[in-house]
Symmetry: C5
Subunit: 322 residues, 5 copies
C-alpha cells in the first residue's frame, strides 16, 4: 500500500494526485519525491520500481525481506536496509522489523513491513524543519535512521531491567534463572545481530554519501546517530558479558546450594536416627539390665531419646546446618 | 564422465559433436565453451586439461578433492573451488560436496564429484537468459555460485530446527541433550569451515575478476550472492554461540536436577524410616510400658507408624520435595 | 551554575565581570577564556553556547549526559567527553562522573555534572604554570585530562584490594565469594567501558589537535597521559582475567568442598550406626545366647558399642575424613 | 656430518670431491651447490659457514635449535627454519623436528637434527626433475617445504583418529577420557605452534623471494604448498574447538552419571531397608499381636519381607533407576 | 648511586673522574658516555638529567617506576623502559624488575632499581667487543636488551616445571591443585604483561632507531633479540592455555572423584547394614521360629551376618566400588 506520496520543493510539501505526476512534478519544479509504502504487494512495488527505475535485485530484497542492515550502491542510487527493534515486556522478547530505503538523486522510497517504526511521525517532524528537508533525500534517510536508533533506547532499557531482575534471582536461588539467562542471552544475541552491522552502515555512509555532502551540520547529525549506534552496541556487548558471567556464577551457586541441602538432610537424618540407638539398646535381651526394671525406665528412655534429638537439633541449628 | 559439452555463441547453445571440435567452434564462431564433468577419471580430466591447457596443479586438486573453498589465478585462468552443502534430516548431519570450476577467457569447465548441486538445472536456467550468458564464462560462475549459496538456505533451516528442538529438550531434562549439542556443534563447525572461506572467495572475485567487468548488473548480481554468503556465515556463527550457551546451561541444569533428586530420595528415606522409630520404641524391653498391655496397642502402633509416614509425605509434598 | 569565568592573557588571569565582556576581553587583549560550569541549567548552557557559538548537537549531549568518552570535531571546535571515576570503598562500587569540554581557538568551556573531579584545583595548578597556560585552550584540556587520569589510580588500587581479598576468601571456603566475584566483575566491566574509549580519544587527539601543535613539551605531556591510560586499561583487563579465573576455580572448589562434606557426614553416620549393629545382635531372641546371661553382659555390650564408635572415630580422624 | 655435497649445473648433478672444490665448481661452471648436513658438530657447521659466508647469528640458531618456523633475510641470503612433525601412534604424541635452510644465490645448505624428514628422498625426487632444479636454490627450498608439509597429513589423520576415539569414549562413560582430552589438547596446541607460523613464512616468501621470481609455475607450486599449510592449520584449529567442547560436555556427563548412581544406590538402599521395617514391627513387644501366634507367622513375615524387596526392585527397574 | 661512569672512544674505555668531565671528554674526544645508576636518589638522577638535558617527564617516570615496557622518543633522545624478570623457585613466583635507559646521540644512561639484571656484566661483555661498542649508545641498548631477554629463559623454564608438576598433581587427585593453578595463572598473566609490550618495543625500535642504522649486523642482532621475545611470548601464551585447560579438566575430575567416593561410601554402608537385617529378623517375636531353638542358632546367625558382609565386600571389591 502506498501510504504517502509527496514532493518536497525547497523543503515544502506538495501532493501530486498520482505516482506518474509525482515524477513530472519533480522534473518540472525540482525538489524530491518521497513515496512511503507499507507492506507493498509485488505489483505495487513493481509499479514504483518501474516509475523510478529501481534496481531489480534491491527490489527483490525489499519484497522477500529477512535482510541484515546494509547499504548498497547501485549506480547513483542507494539501497539501505535498517532493522528497527521493539521490546515486548510480557514475553521478554525483542521483536525486529525491517525498513528499506531507496535513495535516488531526486527521490526517496521507504518500504515498511512492520507497524513500528512510525515513519509518518518521522515525515511530520521533517516537514516541520524545511531547512533540513532542503538537503534532499539524504534528509529523509537521516530522519528514518534517527528514529530507528532512538527506538533502540527502550530496548536497551528493557534488557537492562531483565538483567537486573536476573541478578536478584540469581542469588535468591530461584530455579528458573538458568532458563531466563539462556533465553535472554539469545535475545541479546539477536539484538546484537540487528545492531552491530549498523556500525558498518553508518561508517560507509560517512565515507560515501556524506563525504560528498558539503553541509557540515548534516555530517554532524549523522555522526550523532553513529555515536548513538556505538553506545547501543557497547551496551549490548556488556549485557552479553554480564549474562555469560551470571551463567558461570549460577553453576557455582547450584553446587553451593547442593552442599547446603546435603548438610540439612543429613542433619535431620541424624536427629531422626539417634533415638533409634536408644531404642536398640533397650531392646537388647540381657538378663541383667537395671534400667528395664526401673519404675520410670520407659519414660526415662523416651526422654533420653527426645533429649538426644533436641540436643542434635540445637547443635546443628547453631552450625547453620539445618 | 563428460555430462555436457556445449558452445554458447551470443548466449545461444550449439552442441559440437566432440571435445576437439568444441575448441574449433569457439575459435571460428566466438562465444565460449562449457564442459560439464561428473566424477571424471584421471584420463577424462586429462584429455580436457590438454585440450584447454589447464594448469596441472589445479587439475591435481580437482582430481584429489578435499579442498577448501578458494579461488586461484593461473595466468589468465581462474580455478575456483566451491563447497555445496546438504542437510540430511535423518542423521542430523550436514553433508558436503565439492565443485571445481576452471574459467578461461573462452571456456568454463565444471567438475562435480557429488550428486548435488544439480548443475544441469543451473545450465538450463542460464540458457533461458541469453543476455546473461553473453557475459561469457563469468555468467556460468555466477550461476553455479548462486545455486550453491541458495542451497545453503535449507541447511541453515535444518540446523535451526535442530537447535529449536534442543532448546526444548534442554529444559525438559532430556538426558541425551548433551550428546546432541556436542554433535550439532561439530556439524555447525564443519559448516562454518565450508562457508566462511567463501567470504574471501567472493571478496577476491570482487576485487579481481569483477573489477575488470564493465557490466554493472553482473557486479550487482555477485554482490547479491556475497550478501547471501555473509548472512549464512552470521547465522552459522549465531548457532555456534547458542549451542555454546546451551552446553553451559545444561551443566547448570544437571546440577539442579541432582539437587531435586537428592531431596526426593531423602524425603522418601525419611518416610520409610520414621515408622522404624516407633517399632524400635515398642521393641524395648522395659518392664513397665503401659501401651504394650493395651488391648489395641498393636493397631495403635501400626496406625502411629502410618500416620507418621503419611504426615511426612504430606509435608514433603507441600514443600515440593517429592 | 557558572562557577568560574576568567581570561588568560599570556598565561595570566584576569576576571571579566560578565560573560559578554569575556568575549570582548579576548577579542581586545588576546589570550583565551575559560568558563567553568557546574550542573548548568538548559538556560545557562544556552547562554554560553550562544555567546561562543557552540555546536547545538554537542550542547545537547552535554545537557543529556550519559555519553561515552569521545572527541568530536565541529569545524574548528572540539567537543571532548571524559568519564572520571571514583572508588567507593563501603559499597565496593565504582562511581562514574562525566566532564564535557568545548575547545575553541580562544576559549575552553568545561561542564561538570558531579562533585569530582575537582576542576578548581586543576585550574589553580595551571594558573601556577603560566608557561603551560600560554599554549591556550589545549593546556586546559591537558590539565583536566591529567587530573581525571590520575584519579583512576585510586580506583585501580581499590579494585586490586578487593581482588586480593577475594583471593583469600576463595580458598577459605567463604560462601559469599561467588556473589562478590560477580559484582566486582560487573564493576570492572563498567570501569573498562569508561576507560577503554579514552585510548581512542588520546589517539585521535595525538593525530588531530597535537599534530598541529609545534611545542614538543606539550606533545610529550599528552603522551605521558596516554601512557597512564594504557597502563590503567591493561590493569583493568588483568582484573577481568583474574576474576574470570577465580570464578572457574570457585566452581571447582565448591565441588571439592562437597566431596569433603559427604565424607565427613558419612563418617559420622558410620560412627552412629555401628553401635546399632551390636544392639541388633543382642536383641535377637535365640534361646541360647551366652552373653545374655553374663553378669556384666549389658555393660560389656555398652562398652563394645562405645569401642566400635571410638575406633571408627580414630580411623576416620587419621584419614582426615572427619 | 656432511651427508651430501653436490653441484647442480643446468639441473644435473655433479659431485665435487671436497667442500672447497664445491665452491670452485660453482664459480667455474655456474649452477648451485646443495650441501646436506645431519646433526653437524660446531666445527662441521663452522667450516661450511666459513666457506659460504653464512651469517653468524643464523649459524648459532642452527646449532642451538629450538627455533620457531621463520624466514630471515641476511643481505642476499635467506635463513629458513621449518618444523617437521611426526605422529607416534603408541604414545599418541606428536614429535617435532627442526630443519634449517641457508639459501644463497648459488648454494643451499640444509641442516637436519632429526631422522625425519627424509631429505635424501627430496633430493632424489628433485634430481629426477632437472627443469625444476634449474630454478636454483629456490627449487631445493620448494622440495623441502613440500615434503615437510606433506608429512603433516599423517599427523592430522592421527590426531583425527584420536579425536574420533575420544568422542566414542566420551559417551560410553570412560573414566580416562578427561586425561586423554587434556593430553591431546596439549598435543594439538604444540602442533598449532609448529604449523601456524608457517603461514607467515609462506606469506613472506611469497612477497619476498617469489615476487622476484619470473617463473609462474614455481609461484603456483609455492601457492599450492601454502594452500596445504592453510588447510592443516584450519584442521588443527577445528581439533582444538572439538576438544574444548568435548571437555565441557564431559563435565556435564560426569554430573549426569552422578545423578544416575545416586538413584541406583538409593534404590538398592530402599530394597535393603524395607524388610527391616517388617522385622521392626514384629519385634515389638505388644501383648496382643495376633500374627505372632499364627502357625505360619514367621514364614509369612519372611515372605512379606521378600515381597516388599522384590516389589521395590520391580518398580525401580521399570523406572530405570537400578 | 652512580655505579659506573665511563666514556667509550672508538670502543675503548676511559674513566673520567667526574660527571662534568664526562661530558667534556665526549665533546673533546668523541665517542659516547655510559653512566650506570643504581637506585638513584632524586638528587643524583637530577644532577645527571641536568648534565645531559634529559626530558623531565622521562626522568619522573624513571624515579617513580611501575612503568610498562615502552620506548619513547623525546626529540633526538630515546627513553626505554624494560622489565627484567626472575623466577623464585621457593615461592613459585616471578619477580619483576625495571630498567630505564636514556639514549642520546653521545651518551647512554642506565637506571636500575633491582639487583638483577647484572648490568656490570653486560658492560664487561660489551667492553670485550670494541667493534660492537663503536656503534655508540645503541650497542649499550642492545647489550641490555639481550641480557634481559636471555634472563627470561630461566623464568620460562621455571614456569614450565611448575606446569609439569601440576599436570601430575591433576590426575593424582591432589586437593591443592586448584589453588596452584590459580596462582600460577596469575603469575603467567603478570609475566605476559611484562613481556608482551616488548614485542611492540622491538618493533618500534626496528622501524625507528634501527631503520637509520646502516650497519646490517646490528640490525640482525636486534632481530635476533626480537625473535627471542616472540618465542617467549608464545611460550607464555601456551602456558596460559594449558593452565586454562587444566582448570576445566580439574572441575571434571572433582566431579568424577565425587562419583567414586559416593560409590565407596554406599558400598561400605551396605556392608555394615546387611547384618542388621539378619538381627532384625531374629529379633522378631513370633512364637514359632525354629532357628531360635537350634543349639547353634546364635553362632549360625553371627556367621550368616559375617557371610553377608564378606560377600558384599567381595562383590564391591570386584566391581571396584570400594
Amino acid at each position: 500500500m502506498i501510504v504517502d506520496n509527496a514532493v518536497y520543493v525547497d523543503g515544502l510539501r506538495t501532493e501530486p494526485p498520482s505516482l506518474e505526476e509525482t515524477c513530472e512534478t519533480v522534473r518540472d519544479r525540482g525538489g524530491f519525491a518521497w513515496i512511503g509504502l507499507y507492506r507493498p504487494t509485488e505489483d505495487e512495488l513493481g509499479a514504483v520500481a518501474k516509475e523510478f527505475g529501481l534496481p531489480p535485485l534491491a527490489v527483490e530484497d525489499a519484497l522477500s525481506g529477512h535482510q541484515r542492515a546494509k547499504v548498497e550502491k547501485y549506480g547513483s542510487m542507494l539501497f539501505v536496509v535498517l532493522r528497527p527493534a521493539e521490546y515486548v515486556d510480557e514475553t521478554e522478547k525483542v521483536e525486529f522489523g525491517e525498513v528499506h530505503l531507496f535513495l535516488g538523486d531526486d527521490f526517496v522510497i521507504t518500504v515498511r513491513h512492520f507497524d513500528s517504526p512510525d515513519l509518518a511521525r518521522v515525515r511530520r517532524r521533517l516537514e516541520g524543519d524545511p531547512a533540513l528537508l532542503r538537503h534532499g533525500p539524504v534528509a529523509a534517510l537521516y530522519g528514518v535512521l534517527d528514529e530507528i536508533v532512538d527506538e533502540y533506547a527502550p530496548v536497551v532499557a528493557g534488557l537492562e531491567d531483565d538483567i537486573d531482575e536476573i541478578e536478584d534471582q540469581l542469588f535468591s536461588g530461584d530455579r528458573g534463572v538458568s532458563r531466563r539467562i539462556f533465553e535472554l542471552s539469545t535475545e541479546v544475541m539477536h539484538f546484537q545481530r540487528a545492531v552491530d552491522p549498523l556500525r558498518d552502515v553508518m561508517g560507509s555512509l560517512r565515507q560515501g554519501l556524506l563525504a560528498r555532502q558539503e553541509d557540515e551540520d548534516l555530517r554532524d547529525a549523522f555522526r550523532d546517530v553513529e555515536d548513538h549506534v556505538i553506545r547501543v552496541t557497547e551496551r549490548a556487548d556488556g549485557f552479553r558479558q554480564i549474562l555469560q558471567n551470571a551463567l558461570t556464577v549460577h553453576t557455582a551457586l547450584v553446587g553451593q546450594q547442593q552442599n547446603d541441602e546435603v548438610k540439612k538432610i543429613s542433619g535431620w537424618a541424624a536427629i531422626l536416627f539417634t533415638p533409634t540407638l536408644v531404642g536398640t539398646v533397650y531392646g537388647m535381651n540381657f538378663r541383667i539390665m537395671p534400667e528395664l526394671h526401673w519404675a520410670f525406665g520407659y519414660p526415662y528412655a523416651l526422654l533420653l531419646m527426645l533429649a538426644m534429638g533436641v540436643g542434635l537439633y540445637v547443635i546443628f541449628k547453631r552450625k547453620h546446618w539445618i
